[in-house]
């Protein structure tokens, strides 16, 4: 019902919106009136080149109608972290292109599951045309997901998968594949032998689990001579540094450590420095400290996601859902390995943040 009503209402209101635009803000109307194909096709291409398989299906069809300033609500896992700011940037870009208002919220820390649920509640109560959710805890949101379904609001999962069939699609980095990429590079760097440690930043979200297990699985299958230690969880730098140091001290043959986010990788470097041993550290994502370490040579490299594209694709998927279009079950927003040699390549630099 709701979909039908929106479909009828949109073109009519669109006309009104365009006239309003052109009189008040010429710049805005220009974007709105520009051919949809050119703007949308350019966006994914400039954001990443790693998302090759998904690009064709992700590139929105030119006939995707524009909205009329309706609100699409995105509930992310965080707000202050630069990663989420990049997702927001991408989401707002798509919002501006298709004329939807983007409401982007997230809890203060990635451990605050209940705060996120409160935000999701606010999102539902404000009756947006679509909701995007990066669930901190897949299980905890279940009852609200049922409500969203009952209210006929299309739900798009992003970043982290949600263990439920209510989301129409999941726009995410294939974290397991990205972690496997980190494993592959670490194995190469340490010469395919020795013991490696694993510092995971979180073990409740699907993302966190996949970043750990993807690494472990790849090592198990492809590097029989590498021993992987029991993963340790450390979400902040101090704890990660102490953990890394303990790993190094307890295992004389430790040659490498993989940290699943900025704090974990940075802590691993600090731990290695303090222990005075040469350890190859690879990380995930970017951030000021990781970028400095990679440029300075203390960190071998890291896998980066494509947060801008993730935000963009989430909103495009939401708009497709609003218009009743079919969606793939999973939309990959891509990842890339970077080290000090390619850190400044434009296609990589766009996804790195301080």
């Amino acid at each position: 019902m709701r979909l039908l009503r929106t479909a009828v209402a949109v073109p009519a209101l669109l006309a009104l919106g365009l006239t309003a635009c052109s009189t008040s803000t010429p710049a805005g109307s220009e974007t709105a009136a520009a051919p949809a194909e050119s703007t949308t096709a350019a966006a994914p291409a400039e954001s990443t080149s790693a998302a090759a398989p998904s690009e064709s299906e992700a590139a929105p069809a030119g006939d995707l109608p524009k909205g009329n300033g309706e609100t699409i609500y995105l509930v992310s896992k965080g707000f202050q972290h630069r990663f989420w700011q990049a997702v927001k940037e991408g989401a707002e870009k798509a919002g501006a292109e298709y004329n939807y208002k983007i409401e982007f919220v997230g809890p203060q820390a990635e451990t605050q599951v209940t705060e996120q649920l409160d935000m999701l509640r606010t999102a539902i109560d404000s009756k947006p045309v679509a909701i995007g959710l990066a669930a901190l805890d897949s299980g905890a949101a279940e009852s609200m997901l049922q409500e969203i379904k009952a209210a006929n609001i299309p739900l798009i999962a992003f970043d982290s998968g949600v263990d439920s069939d209510i989301p129409l699609t999941t726009v995410s980095t294939d974290n397991a594949a990205a972690a496997a990429e980190a494993a592959k590079h670490l194995a190469e760097l340490v010469g395919n032998k020795g013991t490696v440690g694993l510092i995971c930043h979180d073990e409740t979200s699907t993302t966190g689990k996949q970043r750990c297990s993807g690494f472990q699985d790849w090592m198990k299958e492809n590097a029989p001579d590498i021993k992987v230690l029991q993963p340790q969880v450390a979400g902040e730098v101090g704890l990660a540094a102490n953990t890394a140091k303990s790993m190094i001290q307890a295992n004389d043959d430790l040659v490498g450590i993989y940290g699943t986010n900025e704090a974990a990788a940075t802590g691993a470097i600090q731990g290695a420095n303090e222990s005075g041993k040469e350890i190859t550290v690879v990380g995930f994502d970017s951030g000021k400290t990781q970028l400095e370490a990679i440029r300075g040579g203390t960190q071998a490299g890291a896998v980066t996601q494509a947060p801008v594209l993730m935000g963009y694709e989430t909103v495009v998927a939401a708009i497709k859902a609003i218009n009743g279009q079919e969606l793939e079950k999973v939309i990959d927003s891509g990842f890339q390995w970077y080290d000090k040699d390619n850190i400044d390549d434009p296609e990589i630099a766009g996804n790195l943040y301080e």
């Binding site: 202050q80 029991q230 969880v233 902040e236 730098v237 102490n242 001290q249 307890a250 000021k288 301080e354």
Partner: protein, 335 residues
């Protein structure tokens, strides 16, 4: 450490000898617990039995330990400080503002004084809210906890601040005594200072007296409001030192950290035998309490035990420590 730093029991008038014995038993107990845990890991965890591991434990517990020294005074008055975790982060962010090349880039000496002043100021606000406005310490410091967290994020613009000042980094990582990190040295020195302050100065004496019986202390002519405020100011300065140790170790500050650190601080104080009800405080106990927490973490990490079990074990140790202390005190009063 020195006899200056011995703990203090009930303020009931008693002979120096019996007081010394009582506080010794308390210290012997926490020490025994630490040694027991330590010996266990020497056998259970690979490579644990090395002097460098012990130094690591002291170094890693230094920032929590130093803040716990200050918190001991607050808890002695029967108060509590929930703002010490995020407060530490706010002070660290301010350290970044004062010293970072991207910000004010002040000379080290001036920067350090300002950093300590920020800590003292936060303590002063807590103290005034509690002693003048009459807010319960739990509420006043809970509010400060949120304010500090918010301000840390606002001031830093939510991004990491790096402090490249080599002198600053040296404060924690340098080795004035070869082989011993300065953080360890600062922890030891501050513990001695705190021990003297608790046992030999008016501040420490009044803190315990207030925690034991605030009304009686007031009636005996002590300016309770003033001394209580001073206790929070003192704890604020210790917090600022903790912030320096924490941020100098890494050379950068992440403004979102620090949440939950206050619980480690309180746990260290409580394991050490300082009563949450006030009136009893023990500086050596606090030091050992901080060491017990870090020894557990270090040992379990080196045994490759998963994080979730580390938390469970630490929780159980806090329970046992406090329970044994209660039993011991009941017996003491029964006899």
């Amino acid at each position: 450490m020195s006899t200056n730093a011995q703990g203090t029991d009930t303020p009931v008038v008693e002979s120096g000898v019996s007081r010394f014995l009582k506080s010794s038993i308390q210290q012997v107990f926490v020490f025994a617990a630490l040694i027991l845990i330590y010996v266990f890991f020497m056998f259970a965890a690979p490579n644990f039995a090395q002097p460098s591991i012990f130094l690591d434990i002291v170094q890693q517990s230094a920032y929590v330990g130093v803040m716990a020294l200050g918190a001991t005074f607050i808890i002695a008055t029967g108060g509590i400080d929930l703002s010490v975790g995020t407060g530490m982060t706010l002070v660290a962010v301010m350290a970044g503002v004062f010293l970072s090349g991207d910000w004010l880039n002040l000379p080290l000496g001036g920067g350090l004084i300002l950093i300590l002043l920020v800590g003292a100021l936060m303590g002063l606000l807590n103290g005034l809210n509690i002693s003048v406005l009459g807010l319960p310490p739990f509420i006043a410091t809970l509010a400060m906890m949120m304010v500090a967290r918010g301000l840390a994020l606002v001031i830093s613009g939510k991004s990491t601040i790096s402090i490249k000042n080599p002198g600053y980094v040296w404060l924690a990582n340098g080795e004035l005594i070869p082989g011993v990190k300065n953080a360890v040295l600062i922890f030891v020195v501050m513990a001695i200072i705190a021990g003297v302050m608790l046992n030999k100065t008016l501040l420490g004496r009044y803190a315990i007296a207030i925690g034991s019986n605030e009304e009686a202390t007031r009636l005996s002519g002590v300016n309770v409001r003033f001394w209580k405020t001073m206790v929070y100011v003192t704890a604020g300065v210790f917090m600022a030192l903790g912030a320096i140790l924490y941020s100098a170790r890494f050379g950068f500050v992440q403004p979102a950290e620090g949440v939950g650190f206050e619980l480690n601080v309180i746990a260290a104080v409580v394991i050490g035998g300082t009563s949450l009800a006030g009136g009893r405080a023990n500086i050596i106990g606090t030091v050992v309490g901080a060491l017990i927490m870090e020894t557990l973490k270090k040992g379990l990490q080196m045994m490759s035990i998963a994080q979730e079990w580390q938390l469970v074990v630490t929780g159980v140790v806090v329970l046992i420590a406090v329970f044994v202390d209660i039993v011991r005190r009941k017996r003491a009063t029964a006899v």
